[in-house]
């Protein structure tokens, strides 16, 4: 007996969006903070 594949794509989209937002967001935050203090 085959069951239909669950239609839960919105959760997947939400997760991928949140992940991207957090990672890109942090990258931006770091870029801004490192700009303010030039260092090596």
């Amino acid at each position: 007996m085959t069951e239909a594949i669950p239609q839960n794509a919105p959760y997947m989209v939400a997760a991928y969006v949140v992940t991207a937002a957090i990672l890109v967001g942090y990258a931006i935050v770091l870029a801004l903070r490192t700009r303010r203090s030039r260092d090596s």
Binding site: P6, Q7, Y11, A15, Y16, V18, T19, I22, T34, D39
Partner: protein, 218 residues
């Protein structure tokens, strides 16, 4: 190339590759029959968990090295790794419930692994709160190192509890003693994603480490 520039390059490349992983996961990896599309959250959730564990492990390692040789660079690295680890822990803790809701029917459950990854998050937070609460840099480095080492040692007990506690959480598929039991394309996508997340970890930590050298002590 300065440290900051190196970090930025790595981060930039990492983010681009992340886009590639997204594409592969969403368009070129098969949909799992029982869990549906939501199963693909696996490809961002697991690498995030891996990165935060890696971050914690390196905090612990750097802490041990600091206490042994008292080189402040180790302390600086530990601080950087803790902050980056917190970021990945946030990804882990948001994608986890988003996966749990469609699959298990509930946003959260207090099973062993979920609870204890929440604890990992708290360790990171506690570590950084402690750093913020101590003013003297030497005392701060020592205290943070102590917490860092204890946090690291706690991790195996976290993983151990998973095997003892009857849990809703999917049994470890890749990192269990026997061979991985998922189809090869899925394993490949996962491994690629883990690689990209690790690259991002590196890029983030390098930049954050560079920040630590600024006059404003961190």
């Amino acid at each position: 190339m300065t440290l900051v520039q190196r970090g930025r390059w790595l981060t930039g490349i990492g983010l681009l590759l992340l886009g590639g992983v997204y594409l592969r996961a969403l368009a070129f990896t098969p949909v799992e029959l029982h869990q549906g599309p939501a199963q693909k959250i696996f490809y961002v959730h697991v690498p995030a968990a891996w990165s935060s564990m890696l971050a914690m492990g390196l905090v612990g390692l750097a802490s041990i090295l600091y206490l042994l040789v008292r080189d402040t660079r180790y302390d600086r690295f530990a601080a950087a790794s803790a902050e980056v680890g917190t970021v990945f822990a946030c990804v882990m803790l948001t994608t986890g419930p988003l996966w749990a809701k469609p699959i298990w029917g509930t946003w959260w459950t207090w099973d062993a692994r979920l609870t204890l990854t929440l604890m990992l998050f708290f360790i990171f937070i506690g570590y950084q709160l402690l750093r913020g609460a101590v003013t003297d840099p030497a005392v701060r480095a020592r205290s943070a190192a102590v917490v860092g080492i204890c946090g690291l040692v706690l991790l195996p007990f976290i993983h151990l509890s998973v095997y003892l506690f009857r849990t809703l959480h999917p049994q470890p598929i890749v990192l269990k003693p026997s061979a991985p039991s998922a189809p090869p394309e899925m394993v490949t996508t996962l491994l690629l994603s883990v690689g990209v997340f690790s690259l991002l970890y590196l890029g983030f930590v390098i930049q954050r480490y560079a920040l630590g050298g600024a006059a404003r002590d961190d």
